[in-house]
């Protein structure tokens, strides 16, 4: 890996990290999209989609309510997508390690968002008198500074995470001993467990939702076994 390889991945991570909260929240930062795009940069769109689906199942648990601290999936899913795409033959462990890398990055990403919000607060406090005077330039510049800082945060996070974790994943894949299909089954089983728990948390208080869930499950299982 060289700097030229890293730049597009880092820029994509920055743009998708920006989408999480600052601009435009169009959900291009969801893992389903971000991992697919991250892998598409390396020419492995379909592989990225599979990883994106597994991460999306985990991300269903994340409800970005206001001031709560939550994982930052945009940049993290780009890192995961790029790592899995770097192994086009899909050796055993590639998907597991890419998801592990994305989860580690999302953890740091959530922390970095808290720090950014604190920094925004410091900038606003320093300009309090101008804000109380209704200074147009101050209102606009605070907004632009916050968004620029968020973009830089996403770029740096993606670049550092990919530079550190991609070689580690490659080295680990060479030593991986668990069967490829079993590894994948464990990963996606864990992800689907999180999705099932999240769905229960979100919908159990909705009248009749459990019957819709069981109805859907019957349809899903039927389609699965007739395919």
């Amino acid at each position: 890996m060289n700097v030229i390889d890293l730049i597009p991945i880092a820029l994509l991570g920055g743009v998708l990290g920006l989408d999480v909260v600052s601009f435009p929240q169009a959900m291009i930062s969801r893992p389903l999209v971000a991992a697919t795009l991250g892998a598409a940069l390396i020419g492995q769109t379909a592989t990225g989609l599979f990883l994106g689906v597994a991460l999306e199942l985990i991300a269903l648990e994340t409800l970005p309510f206001g001031a709560s601290r939550y994982p930052e999936w945009g940049s993290a899913a780009v890192v995961g997508g790029a790592i899995v795409a770097a192994h086009p033959t899909q050796p055993a462990g590639a998907m597991t390690l890419a998801i592990l890398a994305a989860l580690a990055t999302t953890w740091v990403g959530g922390w970095s968002m808290v720090k950014l919000r604190q920094l925004n607060g410091v900038w606003a406090a320093r300009r309090r008198s101008a804000l109380e005077a209704g200074a147009r330039g101050t209102v606009i510049s605070l907004q632009l500074m916050g968004m620029t800082a968020d973009l830089v945060r996403g770029v740096l996070l993606t670049a550092v995470a990919y530079a550190l974790l991609a070689p580690l994943a490659t080295a680990s894949i060479e030593l991986w001993s668990t069967d490829a299909r079993l590894s994948r089954a464990i990963v996606v089983g864990a992800a689907a467990s999180v999705a099932g728990g999240a769905a229960w948390k979100i919908f159990h208080s909705t009248a009749g939702a459990r019957w819709f869930f069981f109805g859907g499950l019957a349809v899903g299982l039927f389609l699965l076994f007739v395919k």
């Binding site: 601009f23 689906v53 590894s183 689907a192 999180v194 999705a195 919908f203 869930f213 859907g216």
Partner: protein, 262 residues
Amino acid sequence: MNASIAADLARPRASELPLRTRIAIFLRLLAIQGSWNYENLLGNGIGFCVEPALHLLPGGIHTPAFHQALARESRYFNAHPYLASVAVGALARAELDGEDPVRIERFRTALCGPLGSVGDRLVWAGWLPFCSLASLAVFGLGASAFVVVGMFLLAYNIGHFGLRIWGLSTGWKHGLRVASALGNPVLRHGPQQIGRLAALATGIAIPLALGRIIGPGHHLLGGVLIGVALGAFVIVRLQNRIEGWRLTLVVLAALALFSVIR
């Protein structure tokens, strides 16, 4: 009719928001959380979004009225980012109608709670998981990356942009009387209906997505499905003690260690 109502009715009102101003506000709404912080939350973002409308105040941007209005609108505010468009439209209308600043302050305070809770239930706990799960079901049926990602982004953003556009025009139309518009059936009953559809999509999506990722072989898939049911039960029982993604991180780290060291 008392004097204040008579004065209220006699005051000249802003009729239409020019298209150019409306577009400027809408584009700024997409960046409303750009300077989100723990001190005044969305406050600066609201000021940033209302600002293009304040240009229409008599005398433009170099008047005390402009500065006072912008300072007022940039104070603490909290709401769901999409439904904040309702507040932005209503506050722009109130400022251009020359409403009493005390009434505007009271209105800002009263609006925070409803716009936050309705938006969270409708979007974060309703529309987003529904679109996500429906796309996962489409993936499970064998669709290509372009179809899965395209369907998700298209469906989600029809709701997303539609809500922001509706919010801005509703807020502008009703001004400080916008509370009645929050009784819209979509906002009142939408979370329940979307919740049911999302529960249906969950049931369909999980087995199909698992099937496509794991590949052929009913024995392994059956075992994983049983494992998923048990895992989901454990995660629900552990609710509020550990988040699922952290638990997954621990499980996968253990698997990686085992697979590499063995």
